[in-house]
């Protein structure tokens, strides 16, 4: 069984919701990333989303744009991310890892080569922001064949018909984008999120995880009431950005941000 499915079935048994932190790999420098991953797991992460830095992150706000710039300045490439996952797996064989990013770095490596490598280092899912299911006809089956989950986004603007298509193709979990906007934008409206999740429940058994606009324990707890998982990105990446002159303090800060959310969600 894929580690993501395994994790959600455990959580379900425990009656808990998934906490899914996102960081951009290579930010502030590649040698920190694996340490951050372990720190996040210690603070209560159930699944890790590892961002693949890209030169043109069209769906991201300034916080993650800058994270991409820092990571790229340090020369972080997709192949380096795969090495990071391999290193992470030496000490952690159970926490699912999802790579999240844009299509071009994957196109450049080649779908099949990427899928082989990702599967062999222990990646569990792939979320390509600019690849809706209609454009995943070639890539999707290559992932599936290697037991890698193809994770797709659902947005507030997604029509009923599109949602059905996405549910039919999605694996691992559905990533519900809580608001119209880029990452790091304004806070979400939990009632609005609940209203959008309800019809999805009728279409799929996939866990529904919510991202965009979750910044602290309070918003995390609110969303956890209606969703199966909570995804937090910019709030963590902000801590990295604020501590560039004291990078040795970052892991501890990430832990405290995440631990606060964990506590609030489990309360």
């Amino acid at each position: 069984m894929n580690r993501i499915d395994q994790r959600f079935s455990e959580l379900k048994q425990q009656g808990r919701k998934a906490l899914i932190p996102y960081i951009t790999a290579g930010d502030p420098a590649p040698h920190y990333t694996v340490g951050f991953m372990h720190a996040l797991v210690e603070a209560g992460a159930d699944i890790l989303e590892l961002g693949v830095p890209f030169s043109d992150p069209m769906a991201d706000g300034p916080v993650i744009q800058k994270a991409c710039e820092r990571a790229l300045q340090q020369g972080t490439r997709l192949v380096d991310l795969l090495d990071m996952v391999a290193e992470f797996r030496q000490a952690d064989t159970t926490t699912p890892v999802v790579l999240m990013g844009y299509l071009n770095p994957i196109e450049r490596i080649g779908y099949e080569v990427f899928a082989n490598k990702a599967a062999s280092v222990g990646v569990d899912g792939v979320l390509v922001v600019d690849m809706p299911p209609e454009e995943a006809e070639e890539f999707g089956p290559l992932l599936k064949a290697r037991d890698l989950a193809a994770i797709f986004l659902v947005a507030p603007t997604t029509s009923h018909a599109r949602a059905a298509t996405i549910c039919a193709h999605g694996e691992g979990y559905l990533y519900y984008v809580s608001l119209k906007g880029v990452t790091g934008a304004a806070t979400l409206n939990a009632e609005d999120v609940a209203n959008h999740l309800a019809p999805l429940r009728g279409m799929t058994d996939l866990p529904l995880c919510v991202g965009f606009g979750i910044r602290d324990g309070a918003t995390a707890a609110e969303v956890a009431k209606v969703a199966d998982g909570v995804i937090v990105g910019s709030a963590l990446v902000n801590r990295i950005a604020d501590s560039l002159d004291a990078p040795e303090t970052i892991a501890g800060q990430l832990k405290s941000v995440l631990a606060e959310m964990r506590t609030a969600m489990d309360a």
């Binding site: 890209f54 030169s55 043109d56 992150p57 069209m58 769906a59 991201d60 706000g61 744009q65 710039e69 790229l72 490439r77 997709l78 192949v79 844009y102 299509l103 071009n104 770095p105 994957i106 196109e107 450049r108 490596i109 922001v129 600019d130 690849m131 809706p132 209609e134 454009e135 006809e137 070639e138 797709f152 986004l153 659902v154 947005a155 507030p156 603007t157 997604t158 029509s159 599109r162 996405i166 984008v177 119209k180 906007g181 880029v182 934008a185």
Partner: protein, 410 residues
């Protein structure tokens, strides 16, 4: 991805894109989910209107009375004679209202915006011509207008920035990335994703996600339809060659598309050679044989490094300074219908000065790329052969750039 370009026949080229916006292996709709709905809506609006005689009539009327079409096909006799070969004819898009071909498309998209009832339009711009054309139609229709422009381009195209201000648009300088056209497009997409309910995104070239490459082509195809008819009237036959500059590729497709089945008409798309293809400092994805890639919603030839990061580009002309190219051009390159070549900055300046001196027509630096290639091509042809060059815009906006090169400060 399933159709390989090599299986595509020339006659198939008139039937592109397919229902999902693919031009063979290129094009498509690679966007984040939030935008999918808006693109489906736009596609439906466009498909329902494009064969609607009332919509066409309104478009034609605006082109005639607001833009000033048809634009003339002008025989540059003195310049042709000095080059000593083929006769060069200039399709005078520089004479359009606002000074470039860009307005053909903004008129069309503004009509679509009006149908959707959205009160706000946004645009990205490089040289500022598309921004000016968008600000112009927005002023005319009373729409709120925000234009994203790379901070480097704001510097080198100050005149157009002020024109947009005068027209009531807000120009938002983009400081991220390379601070040029690609970054302006990133920022416009971020705005659209945030304000998709009340905002219509007027894309300025035959790139972006489906259906933009198709509809921008269709709105610009008036250039080629006129040029074809004018050639028959003024030359007495079709021209032997067409030449147009290629940034995203809208003026080139506009001219080429109505000739695509005329096999005897050769076509040349001229990209920005910058400091020269061999230096790597250019903006010529097709002629430098860049790898395939995905950016801004479509698959195409895309200048990027081995890790898939999009490359910095360089060109004297802000309007061509873009690492990708419209997906239909990518297909036309693969099937061999168009020859894609590059002209470097130095050749472009020479052509700019030559046309200004010999014909009293000051071309945009973008259009001067096409002229630079015509200069190379004409002497290889006979004097009874004919080349139509798309003079896509006028050069007023570039006077500062050229003055700076001449060491003159205002």
């Amino acid at each position: 991805m399933t159709v390989s370009a090599t299986e595509t026949k020339f006659s198939d080229l008139t039937r592109m894109p397919d229902a999902r916006g693919h031009f063979g292996p290129y094009g498509g709709r690679f966007v984040s989910e939030t935008l999918s709905f808006a693109l489906e809506e736009l596609e439906q609006t466009y498909l329902s209107l494009r064969d609607d005689p009332a919509f066409q009539a309104e478009f034609d009327r605006d082109l005639a009375h607001y833009v000033g079409r048809p634009s003339p096909l002008y025989h540059a006799e003195r310049w042709s004679q000095s080059l000593g070969g083929a006769q060069i004819w200039l399709k005078r898009e520089d004479l359009n209202h606002t000074g470039a071909h860009k307005v053909n498309n903004t008129i069309g998209q503004a009509l679509l915006a009006k149908k959707t009832g959205k009160p706000r339009v946004i645009a990205e711009t490089g040289a500022g011509q598309h921004g000016v054309a968008t600000a112009t139609v927005a002023a005319r229709l009373g729409l709120e207008c925000d234009v994203y422009m790379g901070a480097a381009d704001v510097q080198r195209q100050k005149l157009n920035v002020y024109r947009m201000h005068l027209l009531g648009a807000r120009v938002i300088p983009v400081e991220s990335g390379t601070r040029t056209l690609k970054d302006a497009m990133n920022e416009a997409l971020r705005d659209w994703v945030t304000n998709v309910d009340n905002t219509f995104y007027i894309i300025g070239t035959v790139a972006g996600p489906h259906p933009y490459p198709q509809l921008v082509r269709d709105f610009n195809a008036v250039v080629g339809r006129e040029a074809r008819r004018q050639s028959l009237e003024q030359i007495g036959r079709l021209p032997d060659a067409l030449v147009a500059c290629v940034g995203g590729g809208s003026n080139a497709l506009g001219l080429f598309y109505p000739f695509v089945e005329d096999d005897a008409v050769a076509m040349y798309g001229v990209e920005a050679g910058g400091d020269g293809l061999e230096t790597g400092r250019h903006a010529a994805p097709l002629s430098s044989n860049a790898p395939r890639g995905v950016l801004h919603g479509n698959r195409t030839y895309l200048m990027s490094d081995e890790a898939g990061q999009v490359s910095d580009t360089h060109s004297i002309s802000a309007g061509l300074d873009y690492p990708g190219v419209g997906p239909e051009h990518a297909l036309w390159k693969d099937v061999g219908r168009v020859n894609y070549v590059a002209a470097n900055d130095k050749e472009v300046l020479e052509a700019f000065r030559e046309l200004t001196h010999m014909e009293g027509i000051m071309p945009a630096l973008e259009s001067a790329h096409a002229l630079a290639h015509a200069k190379v091509l004409a002497p290889t042809m006979r004097t009874d052969q004919h080349i139509v060059v798309n003079l896509s815009g006028r050069g007023d906006k570039d006077i500062m750039t050229v003055a700076n090169i001449d060491g003159i400060e205002f």
